[in-house]
């Protein structure tokens, strides 16, 4: 992660934390580490240009507020990722699309079948394999994690 990206992120965190528009000094005060006034101003300016922050005049100073809530941005991010329509298909590759209805039911059954199978083979493996194979597990079993 680059330094500039970290700064933008830290400053957005400060803006998201409050409901009111903040001056550069107020943003500086809200940051975990102290930064030069001009640095904070530059980053706020960048954020405004990218559309993440909004600037408003307050007398001689500028005040900044986030253009949208953090939740709104998360929603935008994930909406693109989960979209079932094909418009953005080329932009990213999803792991799997979700299914519903009859297919989901069939798949859920398949999943529980697989889990049962796995558990059975795991218990067989525990009692029949290796040094501990003959250990009387009914009376003593190693502490489970």
């Amino acid at each position: 992660m680059n330094r500039l990206g970290d700064l933008e992120r830290a400053i957005m965190e400060v803006l998201w934390r409050t409901d009111s528009a903040l001056t550069v000094r107020q943003v500086s005060n809200g940051l975990p580490q102290s930064l030069a006034h001009t640095t904070v101003m530059t980053v706020l300016d960048r954020l405004a240009k990218k559309g993440f922050a909004r600037r408003e005049r307050d007398g001689r100073a500028w005040r900044y507020r986030p253009a949208a809530t953090r939740e709104a941005y998360v929603a935008e991010l994930m909406l693109t990722a989960l979209a079932q329509t094909g418009d953005r298909d080329a932009a990213l590759a999803r792991f799997a699309q979700s299914v519903s209805g009859a297919e989901a039911e069939v798949l859920r059954e398949a999943l529980s079948g697989l889990e049962r199978e796995h558990q059975e083979s795991a218990t067989e493996g525990d009692s029949g394999v290796g040094l501990w194979g003959q250990w009387p597990t009914r009376f003593f079993s190693p502490r489970s994690p």
Partner: protein, 315 residues
């Protein structure tokens, strides 16, 4: 060979490509060797496009004199236009009109095909840039998924952003949903996408779908190729040491059924069966095509692309 004969043969290649695409929708061997099938799909698409454009141009230049071929005819035409002669000599007016229309249509089709390709690519790049910007502000790392970005979102989501600075993104909902081995499987699958640049494989089909959104054949072709790409990534993921097909399968099952009910029903008819196909393929993998069969597919793909190219260049 005359330009008219070229036009007829090119049109035949174009029609043959469509026939081939139709047939490829209904055969079952592609899931045995997805890589070979994807190569053939690309060849079908490329040959179809080239042949359609070529056939129109061939008709367009058929008045440029005998024995010039399509590209030669275009060269003659350009020279003639440069000399200030808009029409070839000795041709009836109606025929000249037909040729001109066909020529314009050929160039228009070529421009449109290239245009949608560029647009699809540009849109994808823009959407990825926006994703990266948002991720820089919102995402964080997590030791459960080394190398991936995590977003605080309750539903299951996992995807990758291809490109030079590629990125794998996973939601917190996914971390809660999947066991560690399954998460490894998801990451391996996404890394396979990134490494093989599967996004570039799909771009021609995305752009075709944009060019002809109503075409059922193109929509089906896109879905088929997309599924094959997923199967290819599944195969590649299983090459990761210690990763078992069952874990990838349960990851898919958990993931695919987690959001059921939330998603709009109408959109899902499209994806019906794809997850089932991937899971059943993982659990009982079909034997891959024999070497000879794969070589045949590759040869067919090469011939399919070579045919329209030869017809365009041959005098």
């Amino acid at each position: 060979m005359g330009a008219v004969a070229d036009a007829v043969l090119l049109a035949a290649v174009a029609v043959g490509s469509v026939r081939c695409a139709r047939a490829m929708l209904h055969v079952s061997w592609p899931r045995r060797s997805p890589a070979a099938a994807i190569l053939l799909w690309q060849a079908v698409g490329l040959a179809g496009g080239l042949a359609a454009v070529g056939a129109l141009l061939a008709v367009g230049v058929s008045g440029e004199g005998p024995g010039t071929g399509v590209l030669g005819g275009l060269a003659t035409l350009t020279r003639r236009l440069a000399d200030g002669q808009p029409f070839a000599p000795h041709q009836p007016l109606v025929l000249a009109g037909v040729r001109l229309t066909s020529l314009v249509a050929g160039f228009a089709l070529f421009t449109a095909l290239c245009g949608v390709l560029v647009m699809a690519f540009a849109d994808a790049v823009a959407a990825r840039r926006r994703q990266r910007e948002l991720l820089a502000l919102l995402a964080h790392g997590d030791p459960k998924v080394p190398g991936a970005l995590v977003v605080d979102y309750p539903a299951a989501a996992a995807y990758c952003l291809p490109g030079i600075r590629s990125q794998i993104v996973v939601s917190v909902g996914t971390l809660d949903l999947l066991a560690p081995a399954e998460l490894t499987a998801v990451l391996a699958h996404e890394r396979a996408h990134l490494r093989a640049r599967h996004d570039l494989v799909l771009i021609p089909f995305t752009s075709l779908r944009r060019a002809a959104p109503r075409s059922g054949l193109i929509a089906q072709a896109y879905r088929t190729v997309a599924l094959l790409v997923e199967m290819m990534a599944d195969d590649r993921a299983l090459r990761v040491r210690g990763l078992v097909a069952r874990e990838l399968a349960t990851a898919l099952l958990r993931f695919g059924t987690a959001a059921a009910g939330d998603a709009p029903a109408g959109a899902l008819a499209v994806a019906e069966g794809e997850l089932t196909a991937r899971v059943s393929r993982l659990l009982s993998p079909p034997p891959p095509l024999s070497r000879a069969a794969q070589a045949t597919v590759v040869l067919a793909a090469a011939l399919l692309v070579a045919a329209p190219l030869l017809l365009l260049v041959a005098p």
